[in-house]
């Protein structure tokens, strides 16, 4: 409860990012995900940290333009981070690349940044689900395994697996919404 109130305060007073304590709370809440996005996009830890740093710098400069009525801090930071990643990708594209040095998760035309971002968000949300829910969604949908196979492996009836899929999807929706997702990304 106290944590939630601290978060709420950070949400409201983000215009006050100049305050190091507010900045630190915002960092603790969101930097991990921003770093994951940058790292998966650029495939390089050092550059990913530079992206997070630049994101916070831009957020700090533009804090007075943040409107809590229009977006959560998270979606706001994501939007900034996305721009920084795009800038960083462009900067890299303009430099010659050695063969075989391209990391696997770099956004390419067939896998644009938006899609990569959604994937990362879903993965983050799946990590926050209960083990029970996560296992059925991953095994059945992502690993394309049959319900009966998964049921046998878990030692539960097929009906229970299906019911966990249903409740798992509902839980996933709630977690995604808590993370600022509204089904339109």
């Amino acid at each position: 409860m106290r944590l939630r109130m601290a978060r709420k305060r950070a949400e409201e007073s983000v215009g006050n990012l100049a305050d190091n304590a507010v900045l630190r709370t915002v960092y603790d809440d969101h930097a991990g995900e921003l770093f994951a996005l940058a790292y998966r996009s650029l495939g390089d830890r050092g550059r990913a940290e530079e992206v997070v740093q630049e994101t916070f710098l831009r957020a700090w400069r533009g804090a007075d333009r943040y409107d809590p009525q229009r977006s959560t801090v998270r979606t706001w930071l994501y939007a900034i981070c996305r721009n920084v990643v795009i800038d960083a990708s462009r900067a890299r594209a303009s430099r010659p690349q050695l063969a075989d040095t391209e990391p696997p998760d770099v956004p390419v035309p067939e896998r644009p940044l938006e899609q990569l971002l959604v994937g990362l968000q879903v993965e983050e949300a799946l990590r926050r689900l209960s083990e029970q829910h996560r296992v059925v969604l991953v095994e059945i949908h992502l690993r394309d395994r049959s319900t009966s196979e998964v049921a046998a492996e878990l030692g539960i009836p097929v009906g229970t697996v299906r019911s966990r899929v249903y409740y798992g999807l509902k839980a996933l929706k709630l977690v995604l919404e808590e993370m600022g997702w509204h089904g339109d990304q």
Binding site: V122, Y166, L176
Partner: protein, 221 residues
């Protein structure tokens, strides 16, 4: 109204939304949906989630999520501190420039160069005898929270990790963070150490697990 039939149907709706029912079962679900607005509404809730679920990578889920180095928040705070002082300088420079313009109208403007200084923050330190091919430069800055360090390094083996530290007079060290060298690419970083600059005698870089300094620069505070 949720009937027993609907409750039963719910068990199938998740699988249906994911497109994982066989044809026979899918037909039964559709037949129920046609006559049940509640279940249709329920399905509408699930469909967008089901459609993005497939974009997750199950293998990445097994890996621990990548985390930034613990030194990053310090680096960000140090950068913001520098940005703040730069803004202050800019304000001072604007006022100074206005004064110069006013003065310049009177005197011909030869004060301009002396009144608007453009020194980067911090004081430079010199690295002693770096290995062949290694270039490094650094500036250190005394801050209210400790010491800010900006470090540029080129020529250390690409992909190797290095620690950056400040050394006290008694030889003990305080970690300032770590970085991954980029070979010929220049690595520029800002680091923060919770050690007042006056308490440090040396800035150094070494490989993890090896105390030998690969780069070192004495501090004259």
């Amino acid at each position: 109204m949720t009937s027993d039939r609907c409750r039963q149907m719910h068990t199938l709706l998740g699988m249906y939304a994911l497109g994982r029912l066989d044809d026979h079962e899918a037909v039964a679900v559709r037949a129920h949906l046609d006559g049940c607005a509640d279940c249709r509404a329920e399905l509408n809730q699930l469909t967008p989630v089901a459609s993005v679920l497939g974009q997750a990578d199950p293998d990445r889920l097994l890996e621990p999520p990548p985390a930034p180095s613990p030194a990053l928040p310090g680096t960000i705070l140090a950068t913001l501190d520098r940005e703040r002082s730069r803004q202050r300088h800019r304000r001072v420079a604007v006022v100074a420039a206005a004064a110069v313009t006013a003065l310049g109208l009177l005197t011909g403007g030869f004060f301009l160069r002396t009144l608007v200084p453009s020194t980067p923050p911090g004081q430079p330190v010199a690295f002693t005898a770096p290995a062949a091919g290694v270039e490094a430069s650094a500036r250190v800055e005394n801050r209210a929270w400790g010491t800010g360090i900006s470090l540029d390094v080129t020529g250390l083996p690409e992909g190797s990790t290095y620690n950056v530290w400040l050394q006290r007079p008694d030889g003990s060290r305080m970690n300032a963070g770590s970085f991954i060298a980029g070979g010929d690419r220049k690595m520029s970083m800002n680091l923060a150490v919770a050690l007042p600059m006056s308490d440090a005698t040396m800035l150094g870089v070494s490989a993890p697990g090896d105390d030998t300094a690969i780069l070192q620069a004495p501090l004259h505070s």
